[in-house]
Every structure is written in structure tokens, then in C-alpha cells.
């Protein structure tokens, strides 16, 4: 499946909507095992993405993804800013070669892993990106992929980011970055796949 720049625009606007609606919930999740700012961080960031996209004149997928990356990098801060930013920057680079959605998401995932030096099972957003990337490649991606990933992330013990400081207390909790990434992929289903 190919991703067009119009689709990408709709996808990111939809993501902004979901994050805005769930800002308090994301911060609550972060307060339990982190520092309680993931909701405000992502709301600020996706707001900036929305503004940036409104003024993108270059009608290319690469431009949409790159502007998204720049907006996230320069507005979010914290851990999630560089991570989401690196994901979209990697996707933008990959968009020079291909518009294949599964390849792009795979590139984004690699961007996150490279920037955060984390991997599957560390209880981070990677535990959402990885199953989604795999499912996309295998053609099995659906809402069920996201739901399952959220179930799977809960019992993990955090080994990266702030949540690693609470040790065993992180077991049983949802990871805020995995949840916000879940919104990203729900938006993808709604705007691109469905």
C-alpha cells in the first residue's frame, strides 16, 4: 500500500485530534510511571504539526513527513520529541525512495530505536511500533494489532526512559508513549487503510 501526501496530511491531522482529546489521559498515564507531561508534550507537538502542515506548499510526501518531524523536534522536547521526531525524519528520508507504507513505518521504527537505544520489551513506544510494522509487512494490520500491543505492553517492566526508575512498579501499567503511538496508528487505519 502506497501513502500519498494527502493521506499523510489527513492522517496527521486525525492524530492531532486524538491526542488533543486524550491529553489528560496521556498525562495521567505518564504521572503513574513517569513525570506526567506526555499529554501536554504531544498536544503541543501535534498542534505545531497541524500549523506547519497548513502552510506546507511543497506537495510531496517527503515534505509532509519532514515538516512533521521538524515541528515535533522543535516543539515537544522531553523524550518523546526526539523519538517521534526521529521517526518522522527517518520516514521522510525513506520517502525519497518509496511510498510503500510498510517500508516507511519500518524506517520510522528504526529511527526510534536508533535515537533511543531501546528495543522491543523495554516497555516503550517501540512495543507499539514493532508489532504494527510487522503486521503491516505481513498484511495483517488492523485495530486488533493495536489492542493486542496495548495488552502486551502492560505486564512489561520498563527498562528505558523515566519509567525505568520506578522499577517493578511499572509492571501492570500502560506505557504512555505506546498509547500515543496507538493513536497514531488508529488514525492511520481511519484515514489511510479503511
Amino acid at each position: 500500500m502506497e501513502l500519498t501526501h494527502e493521506q499523510a496530511q489527513r492522517w496527521l491531522l486525525n492524530f492531532h485530534g486524538k491526542v488533543t482529546d486524550n491529553k489528560a489521559y496521556l498525562s495521567d498515564l505518564d504521572q503513574a510511571i513517569g513525570d506526567g507531561d506526555h499529554g501536554s508534550n504531544m498536544a503541543r507537538g501535534t498542534e505545531a504539526v497541524k500549523e506547519k502542515l497548513a502552510s506546507v506548499t511543497d506537495e510531496s510526501l517527503e515534505a509532509v513527513l519532514k515538516q512533521t518531524a521538524m515541528a515535533l523536534i522543535s516543539k515537544v522536547g522531553g523524550a518523546s520529541g526526539p523519538l517521534y521526531g526521529s521517526a518522522f525524519m527517518a520516514m521522510a528520508k525513506k520517502a525519497k525512495e518509496t511510498r510503500d507504507l510498510s517500508v516507511l513505518i519500518e524506517a520510522g521504527l528504526e529511527g526510534i530505536k536508533h535515537r533511543g537505544k531501546a528495543d522491543v520489551g523495554d516497555k516503550t513506544m517501540i512495543d507499539m511500533w514493532q508489532p504494527v510494522a510487522t503486521a503491516l509487512k505481513e498484511g495483517t494490520f488492523s485495530q486488533a494489532t493495536i489492542d493486542q500491543a496495548l495488552l502486551d505492553v502492560k505486564p512489561l517492566k520498563a527498562k528505558k526512559g523515566r519509567a525505568s526508575y520506578v522499577g517493578d512498579r511499572s509492571i501492570g501499567a500502560l506505557d504512555p508513549g505506546a498509547v500515543s503511538s496507538g493513536y497514531l496508528f488508529e488514525a492511520l487505519i481511519e484515514e489511510v487503510i479503511a
Binding site: 507531561d37 522543535s74 522536547g77 522531553g78 533511543g116 527498562k159 523515566r162 525505568s164
Partner: protein
């Protein structure tokens, strides 16, 4: 949440504005950024630090001759973004390069790294020091490593002194990497910290509870306990901090209030620390007591121990500086 503020999301802008209005003789702001920079730059390596806001007077209170060249203020408890850090680097370089002093938090590390990459693309020489003085956290493959907390201020002071003395970027990097192994910190909290936009404390302690080993962003610590007396807290902290110091003969102490702790309690605690240290064969050759690296409105304090057998550290800590809050 009881605070003397305006809209919660404006606190960082408002406090920054207040700081610059008050101290325009010493400090200025890089336009359109939240970077505070000294007005008069010497032609030395520029030290740049920063992080989330909420740790006032850190870091802007340490900008000035003999300490930092610039401080980058992020949102409350949220590391600043790479573009802001990059602006600070650019403005701090006088051709001698820039040294970043970063507290070890995933977000800070990544944002400062990205800024470093951006600056290197512009051919600015940049090195960074990662401060991880908080021994409350285990440094293992199962954590993001020890955190950077109040000891960072001592790094600012010591490296700031050496930068003023004319040391090169490479020398400062080497000095800094050696220095951080000599600084350890442990903190305790009586209350959580309330991020203005969140409106409720990061964790809640009962009236008779305290928490050992908290971070400076309201991260919980290693043990919750019933409220102890000052001398008992001093005993636990001193014991843990001195464990690795069998050979040390001279130390410096930093008793740091976390935001809502009255100075009187810091002095009571300092007394108990000195008392506890009598059981060890060390001499206290430097001390500092006050609010340096706070956690918004948290009630609590941290104790930092620095090895001072190296006389140059002591000299660096005691040389005069022209900053707001040292």
C-alpha cells in the same frame, strides 16, 4: 494546587521574563528563544547547560562569569528542544568550542545529542558531559542509568572555573568526565511536586510519610518510610554516600532544598550530617547550603558529596563568580 502564578501554561515564560527584567545587567535572552545567556562573553570555551524548567535557580541562576555561558529552559520538567539548544551553542561559541553539561535523563540526552549533531554540521566544536550523580538509581541495563541531579551545580562551578582559566575544550571534556565520578547525591521528599499544568502532585505522601531517593522531576525513590527525624535521615544518606569513599580524606557537601523547604531545616539537617560524618575519617573542606536545584514546590532536600582530595577542585569551587545564585 496553590501557587502564585498566572495561567499554568505561562509559568515558564513569566518566570523567564521576571528573571530578565530583574537581572538585565548580567543576563540577556537570545531573541525568540528560551535561552538565557551572559551579556559579556570572554573568549573561552562556552559552557551550556539546561533542561526542563522547575529547577530554579538552575540553570539560569548559574549563568555568568566563572560558571555557565548559557542556559536553555525547557517546558516544566520537559527537556528543551534541539533547535533551542542549538541556538545556545551557536551564541556561546567564541571559536573555542562549546561544552554541554547534560543531566542524565533520556529526554535531555537525546535533545542535547541532536543539538550537538546540528552544531557539528555547522562546524562548531562541541563536547558533552553527562552528569549522573543520583545514587538512588541503579546503573544497570535495566534502567536508563543513574540520574543527574543537584551535583550538576558543582560541575558547573568547577568546569566554569577551569574554562575561565583558559582550558581547552578537550581538556575540559577530560576533566569533566573524571569529575563526575567524584560526585554523588541522594534526595528525600516530604511531598510530591506539582507541575502547574498538571495541577496535582506527581506522587502523594501521607502526613506521616516520606520518600527516600526521589529524583528532581517527582520521580519516586527507592523506599517509602514513616517520617524520620533529621538525624535519622542524615544517617541513612551519609551512610549510603560514604560507602564508596573508603579512601577519601577530604570532602565537600551540598545541602540542597527542593523548593518548599525552609532554610532553617536545611541548617538543622546540615548539623546532623556533620555529626554523622564524625564516624568517618574525613575532613569537610567545602560546604554549600541553600536552594540550587529544586523540584518546583517539593518539600525535601538532597545531600551531595564531592571528593576534594584533588586540591584543584576545592580551588575551583571557591573562586569568585558573577552569577545570581551560587
Amino acid at each position: 494546587m496553590k501557587k502564585i502564578i498566572n495561567e499554568p501554561h505561562l509559568v515558564v515564560d513569566d518566570l523567564l521574563e521576571g528573571m530578565l527584567l530583574a537581572h538585565s545587567d548580567l543576563l540577556t535572552r537570545i531573541e525568540d528563544t528560551r535561552v538565557v545567556i551572559e551579556k559579556e562573553k570572554q573568549a573561552t570555551v562556552g559552557l551550556v547547560s539546561g533542561g526542563g524548567s522547575g529547577h530554579e535557580p538552575a540553570h539560569a541562576g548559574f549563568v555568568g562569569d566563572g560558571m555557565l555561558r548559557a542556559a536553555v529552559l525547557g517546558e516544566m520538567f520537559t527537556s528543551p528542544t534541539p533547535d533551542q539548544i542549538y541556538e545556545a551553542i551557536k551564541a556561546s561559541d567564541t571559536g573555542k568550542g562549546v561544552l554541554l553539561i547534560v543531566k542524565n535523563y533520556t529526554g535531555d540526552v537525546m535533545n542535547f545529542d541532536m543539538a550537538k549533531e546540528m552544531a557539528e554540521m555547522e562546524d562548531i566544536e562541541v563536547e558533552s558531559i553527562l552528569v549522573d550523580d543520583d545514587i538512588a538509581v541503579e546503573d544497570s541495563t535495566y534502567t536508563a542509568g543513574k540520574r543527574g541531579v543537584a551535583g550538576t551545580i558543582l560541575v558547573h562551578k568547577i568546569l566554569g572555573h577551569f574554562a575561565r582559566e583558559g582550558k581547552t575544550l578537550a581538556e575540559l571534556k577530560q576533566l569533566g568526565d573524571a569529575l563526575i565520578h567524584h560526585i554523588d547525591t541522594l534526595g528525600v521528599a516530604l511531598t510530591g511536586a506539582t507541575v502547574p499544568e498538571v495541577g496535582k502532585p506527581g506522587f502523594t505522601l501521607e502526613a506521616n510519610e516520606m520518600e527516600y531517593g526521589v529524583g528532581i522531576h517527582g520521580e519516586p525513590g527507592y523506599r517509602r518510610s514513616e517520617l524520620k527525624q533529621s538525624h535519622q535521615i542524615a544517617k541513612e544518606l551519609v551512610t549510603k554516600l560514604m560507602e564508596t569513599r573508603k579512601e577519601t580524606k577530604k570532602i565537600g557537601l551540598l545541602v540542597n532544598g527542593l523548593g518548599a523547604t525552609p532554610i532553617q531545616e536545611l541548617y538543622v539537617f546540615y548539623r546532623d550530617v556533620v555529626n554523622e560524618l564524625k564516624a568517618y575519617d574525613v575532613e569537610i573542606t567545602f560546604q554549600k547550603i541553600g536552594d540550587f536545584m529544586t523540584s518546583i514546590d517539593m518539600a525535601g532536600l538532597s545531600l551531595t558529596v564531592i571528593d576534594l582530595d584533588d586540591e584543584t577542585y576545592k580551588e575551583a569551587l571557591t573562586s569568585p563568580v558573577d552569577v545570581l545564585s551560587w
